[in-house]
Point group: D4
Chain length 152, copies 8
């Protein structure tokens, strides 16, 4: 018997590598729907002032953009069944951890994707997750199994 | 990657100008669904007594109508992802502010649309919003960005 | 502008007259979906023991049936946007009042349909409703207005 | 070991006999707190117009009173752990059934108290309850057992 | 029997007359607890910049203050059983209507206090309330009745 | 009148007999959608380590698998309208009872399927259910009645 | 700094050994409040018929008792911050697993206490827990650390 | 008029400086209650294995500890009215951002405390907050104002 309902997956976090593409490509043929934040870094930083008017103060420039992005981000997380959060090698990535906490509080199924070097620093985040993966292909493996019940 | 899920937008507030039409027209081609209160002023005022029977007392005349309208309004807000509330130059518009509070308490993404002259009087309402816009075109800009990740 | 989303309507209460048919017939062409309890009185009374095995004690005979019916009733109310509850001239109709209370606690939009003779006895129920109607045609009038914004 | 937390009990329904007094008297010494609707029939009927101003139309006279009473009733039910609903021999008692439905939707523990003659008419209400009692003393028995774990 | 549980009342809205004092004074001896927004107009306007640092732009000056006030306001509404909202003769008072909507969405018992001249403009707000009062003394009357079941 | 909305059914519990097939086969033609846990015992036990990497310690081997399976199981229960839980003759089947408790707390309509020999041991689980069935065909009978209102 | 708020602990499951006493004894001096099901086996089995009247059919005899016990059990779980569930060496203990699932769905912090021989059979239950303990003393250790931040 | 209800404050984040002490000291005399994570770094890292048994694999060593800490952390956030999250100059501090997201999803009032150098990296976190402070004294200022309505 097959679970024929689509699952919705939100792909949060690091935007500098092709991990989202690898998951979406690898999951082809599965009944999944994907959403993600805006991954165009410049657009994401400037959307607030570009659309709603310039701000001389960088703090409010950032605030305006972050709130416009929040419309998309919250919708993505709140409507998701599964939230995948990727932590890369570099940067603070506090918004990724924030999304993970947000998703955890809503009871979403969390999959955390990160290299082993971050294991200790991410232990609280990992502890709220149902899977910790090292590669996008492992995430695909989890998604395939969850939908189809088959390994590989 | 594209977030292909439709977002539902509720357009609350001022009913004397064409701001709703401008947003709907400007958002053509985007995967959005719009809802709004009844904007026919006379119908909105008299729906209760027209359908359910006359009331000699104006207070209960208004009550009957307001409750029938509430069936539509609450459904519109509760099923929305984004609630846009427009405050015009005139009138008390307490129902617009009420809708904004209602939407805020439900955790909806709020966009408030109003001229600068109302900035101080609307500061509590704006503070609960994710965007404050001055023109319907700016609202369209936010909606387009949120759905497509592109600016203009 | 048109609110194009379907609304789901649950028709609870009295099962001895054709009020449900008159509402469904009158609402033809509107984007509405209707649900209702099982209105076959004998089936409704005996479903528990017919399906799950006889009970010598009438109390448990009734319990088994009432719980099987509750699967349908609760689903109908919980997935509804609008719950119409009809109280007829006869019988205790406590399940109708129970459904009204259940729907009220879930924040559903309530329309109560009953003759004037029950006004005082139903005052607490009416006070939780957004409309009190006297005829099925008035209910249709409310539903049409709520969906289309037009009177008649 | 003793469950030392107070339980809050709301006593809804019939107001013409001394069943509430018998429960409260019988439960003396147990760590219980009781609440109830206003049981002064005249005050309950007229509170709205007495406090907020007369209404010539009996329908709105009743509405005003019912809504003022609802402030107390809803608070009583919403803060209760256990809701006892008593159906007497006479009257429609739709507000009792409404309260039972309201409490059921909120997941409260329901105890229904009624004579056997109402068994069939109350089967849907009973089916939502955790106990059906015939006498106030049985309700006391349930409350004592639930708090202390002892029978009699 | 007496409902001995304290009710918490939040007094929202107009800050230029002594209506809050009259309610608190009139309700002496009742088991009520009151909360309210900061009613010192200057402190309320400037709290954000006074505590967290100046803003050259009035819009953000206001935002900072409105958000600090929101910590108090939301706590007051969210922990309240009853929310009283007063609309005075003057000013836009959109924050009052916003609070009313916020409270309504949370299912709080609403009492609206305003002169008759605002009846039509406030019809949607009144329609969400359980009582509409004209004087602080009427609000006291409702509170006393709800707690004690006695009229005057 | 027909309740045309699809109901979603989750089939939890025992995986060694063909009860799921008999229900799905028997319910052909009804507007139902079914979901279930992975019923391939080996895949279910090893999914965690197969996809995410081996664990030398059996406890963590099991943990990894159980958490991956939880992504599917929780989604199945949380999106279901009706949860059927089957207890077979053998094994501890604690995950079946866990699922039943999980579904009960979410307010799902529960149908428990088990032989009479387990009646006493399952009395708390049965007491949270709306139907206790002995055969898959009885479950089909309940589902057919709930959807169509007809017996047999 | 000390977290001075009391935590409420519900002790569910096995009733044949003194594990509850050992936890309560060991936790003396900590700001904890404990609750538990009725552990008098005979009273627990017969409470329904003893209080509410005999049932000739054992199935309904059990149902009546299980539902009366549910008033206590659900209150205990729903008001708890931490739910400890103990699985002993013998018996089916499906109500223990049911309680664990119920608590998990409500987002309670779960501690599961069982011998290693049950590790595989309890893997889904353990996977929903924040701690798996082998002895009551370990549970005390967790409670002490959570409250005081000290080890031993 | 004074808001006499205690507010509960959770102090999340950085554990290497005395910011918590400065807030608690500064807030002396205010009706506030504080909670925090375990700030003894070694205890926090090792609590899982110290209490529940050693793990040879560092990943599971960390998991055990993180989950035991989660019992305290979640209780602290879930029972708080206000959550203050401090980001220091050093370390990844992903658990701080996780807590902020968790609190935001629960609708808690968030105050974020960090130096200006983190403004851009924390813009999404700040955008979910009601106040961004630079010093513990500013946090005290906000708490004092929120409780007493006075500045300084």
């Amino acid at each position: 018997m097959k679970d024929h309902r689509t699952m919705k997956v939100y792909l949060s976090g690091e935007i500098h590598t092709d991990w989202r593409d690898r998951i979406i490509e690898g999951a082809k043929g599965l009944d999944l729907s994907f959403a993600a934040p805006v991954t165009d870094h410049a657009a994401s930083d400037d959307c607030g002032v570009e659309i709603l008017g310039a701000e001389p103060d960088k703090f409010w420039h950032d605030r305006k953009g972050a709130q416009v992005n929040a419309i998309r981000t919250r919708h993505g997380i709140e409507t998701a069944d599964i939230v995948v959060v990727r932590f890369g090698e570099k940067y603070k990535q506090w918004n990724a951890a924030f999304d993970a906490g947000y998703a955890a509080a809503l009871g979403k199924s969390l999959i955390i994707l990160h290299p082993e070097e971050h294991d200790h620093a991410l232990k609280e985040v990992d502890a709220a997750a149902l899977a910790v993966a090292r590669t996008p292909e492992q995430v695909v493996g989890v998604l395939r199994y969850v939908l189809t019940g088959t390994l590989g």
